[in-house]
Amino acid sequence: MIEKHTIIVTVTNRVGILARITGLLAQRGYNIESAIAAPTEDPDIYKIILVVMETDENIEQITKQLNKLIDTIKVIDISHRDNYIVREYIILKVGITPRTRAEVLDLIRVFEARLIDLATDHLIVELTGHVRKIDRFIELLKPFGIKEFVRSGEFAMTEYN
């Protein structure tokens, strides 16, 4: 069954490491939904957080192949684990009219999103939260006419040490 998997790859911070990882997935024909290369508390260590849509068997191969890269220290597929905090960030521009403005602002309040800019025909808003919350936010704003958005891709961290 094809499912969404979030994979955290801990790597040594070497030139070209992101290209190595994304190249490996492309070379073996896997699709990447999102990839973030994030610095960590240790300047020598980066975390690359990948979201891929694949079957369980393919995910096993992907994690093994990622592990095989010389600069990879650790690979974890956190999809079936609950002890991880996963967050995503979005900036979104939605159209408004005098008639819909209040309703849109209401939604923003309910989601605890933050208004960044307000113009007569559109507004820009930012939101951080679980991926499902972001999905739902987009879904509810769609009828008002979303003009543009960018999502960060997933961020994740374990709750424990």
């Binding site: 070209g16 191969q61 095989k68 010389i70």
Partner: protein, 578 residues
């Protein structure tokens, strides 16, 4: 010391005695140091592809890391096929390429190519050296990575200014620190015990071993296990020589061109013990039809190989030699039984044969078979790619590891001659014979000059069938004999559609290989009749130095048995229909 001097010092430190390569602008500083070094022998091949395969052949024959040095741009791109060849067959080589000065990288400078980007997917690891300070560490890591764990090629790209920069306090590091690279060599105890139990309980166990036995130097251990258990065994193309070909329970090579016995054993076994093999599709065919009755055990040093193609029920990650040592003590002696008789009966029923007596032209199998008698026991056989490769695999009587070198995974035509050259340099005193086809030999034939000039004693056998035989065989069997562009004799006056050899074929083969040999100051011999085979082999093998021996062989002979591509083993074609 400058970067170039550091590089040469590292090579000496790592015990490198020979470097293959080709100079150019961005490596002149390195070549300048080679000029004054007498500890390292430098072999100037005639093409960078040749240098890479030579380093590869050297590594396969000796077990040491092979090294080549080439210039940036076209020099670097010419190594690509060689690097990919070494990657597919897990061969430890280091390819050092020059690069434009670091400050010019990214400007499309003269002879700039992104070597790290180009080689990323075809090497075990690669580096662009940004400054001379990191050069010693990178070189240390490169050697460590190439030869440990699952061996493989490492590419190191050195900008010319790094070669020229001085490093004040140079010291070659003693240790590497690679937090992300710690190959597991000790097998998990529980898994080894589980495997031993499975072996003790199996009714129809089968060993399936490959290149990993060679890289682990585990032949002795494998033989000890065999002697104790009498388990029937099949050996891949890459593993040939791990055990002597006349070992009683040896069933031959499995796979698309494997023996009937080996393939039938794969279908009927109830426990398949893969050791240092990667379940290549040339062996499994359609995966869902592969070894369907068997519990699959897999010993491999590379965790990513486990369950990659075929699900392993008993995986053991680690070094084959170490694991075999432990396994031997844990398995019970096993007498020969019905299963042994059954596999032996297949061997008797379907032997690999040929019938020279009925043929007026030379059969390629016959030439190889005669080597069993006429070539010294210490011979190293190096093949090219095609039908001749399969015949060499089957008809040469393999005796020891590292004595049959062949491009298996990439199947690189043109591998044979340069790899043989490298093997000859790595193993002086052994007879190195390359078995090639008239197609393959032309892909790196320039290396005859390298052999001649450096007196590298490679015995070149060309089995000339005037076809790209292996492809022609597929066309014959699966494409209704439409021999599209596989005839190497074809000239512009030939009819557009040609059903195969006939009375109107041109008589001359171009080029004349004997003349090419002579142009290189190498003796060139030719046999056209079966009765001439022995004389040519004797004359070629008994004189010192390189020789070219051309055998004009039957042009439409096929390699059998053959399992059609993508088909299950049951679809095997035992021989050409009468």
């Amino acid at each position: 010391m400058n970067g170039a001097e550091i590089l040469i010092d590292v090579l000496i430190n790592e015990g490198v005695d020979t470097v293959f390569g080709y100079p150019g602008g961005s490596v002149i500083p390195i070549f300048d140091v080679l000029y004054r070094t007498d500890t390292i022998r430098f072999i100037l091949t005639r093409h960078e592809q040749g240098a890479t395969h030579a380093a590869d052949g050297y590594a396969r024959a000796t077990g040491k890391v092979g090294v080549c040095i080439v210039t940036s741009g076209p020099g670097a791109t010419n190594t690509i096929t060689g690097i990919a060849t070494a990657k597919m067959d897990s061969v430890p080589i280091i390819v050092i390429s020059g690069q434009v000065a670091a400050g010019n990288i990214g400007t499309d400078a003269f002879q700039e190519t992104d070597m790290v980007g180009l080689t990323r997917s075809i090497c075990k690891h690669n580096y662009l050296v940004k400054n001379v300070e990191e050069l010693p560490r990178i070189l240390k890591e490169a050697f460590f990575i190439a030869r440990t764990g699952r061996p493989g090629p490492v590419a190191v790209d050195i900008p010319v200014n790094v070669s020229n920069s001085i490093l004040a306090n140079y010291q070659y590091p003693k240790d590497v620190s690679l937090p992300g690279y710690k190959p597991v060599t000790n097998g998990n105890q529980k898994q080894i015990e589980k495997l031993a139990r499975a072996i003790n309980e199996a009714k129809r166990p089968l060993l399936y071993t490959g290149g990993g036995i060679i890289s682990a130097s585990a032949s002795q251990e494998l033989l000890a296990l065999l002697d104790k258990t009498n388990i029937p065994i099949v050996v891949t193309l890459m593993g040939l020589g791990a055990i002597p070909a006349d070992y009683p329970t040896f069933l031959g090579m499995p796979g698309m061109h494997g023996t009937m016995a080996a393939n039938l054993a794969l279908t009927e076994c109830d426990l398949l013990i893969g050791i240092g093999v990667r379940f290549d599709d040339r062996i499994t065919g359609k995966a869902e039809h592969f070894a369907t009755q068997a519990t699959v055990a897999h010993i491999d040093i590379d965790p990513a190989e486990i369950s990659k193609v075929i699900k392993a029920h008993i995986p053991v990650v680690g070094d084959a030699k170490k694991i075999l040592r432990e396994l031997i003590d844990k398995v019970k002696p096993r007498p020969r039984d019905d299963w042994n008789s059954r596999t032996q009966s297949w061997k008797d029923q379907f032997p690999m044969t040929y019938n020279q007596a009925n043929e007026s032209s030379i059969l390629p199998q016959y030439v190889i078979d005669r080597l069993n008698v006429l070539a010294p026991d210490n011979s190293i056989i190096v093949t090219d790619v095609g039908q001749h490769q399969m015949w060499a695999a089957h008809f040469y009587r393999h005796r020891r590891p590292r004595a049959f070198l062949s491009s298996g995974g990439l199947g690189t035509m043109g591998f044979g001659l340069p790899a043989a050259l490298g093997a000859a340099i790595g193993c002086p005193g052994q007879t190195v014979i390359t078995i090639s086809g008239d197609g393959s030999i032309q892909m790196n034939i320039q290396e005859l000059a390298t052999c001649a000039i450096n007196d590298i004693s490679v015995k070149v056998i060309i089995l000339n069938n005037s076809y790209l035989g292996m492809v022609r065989q597929w066309q014959e069997l699966f494409w209704d004999r439409r021999y599209s562009h596989t005839c190497l004799k074809r000239v512009s006056t030939c009819p557009p559609v040609c059903p195969g050899p006939n009375a109107n074929c041109p008589s001359d083969y171009i080029p004349d290989f004997v003349k090419i040999a002579k142009a290189n100051h190498i003796p060139g011999l030719r046999a056209t009749k079966p009765s001439e085979v022995d004389a040519v082999l004797k004359e070629g093998l008994n004189q010192p130095g390189p020789v070219v021996m051309e055998f004009i062989v039957k042009s439409i002979e096929n390699v059998f048995p053959m399992i059609p591509p993508g088909k299950p083993i049951s679809a095997i074609i035992p021989g050409r229909p009468a």
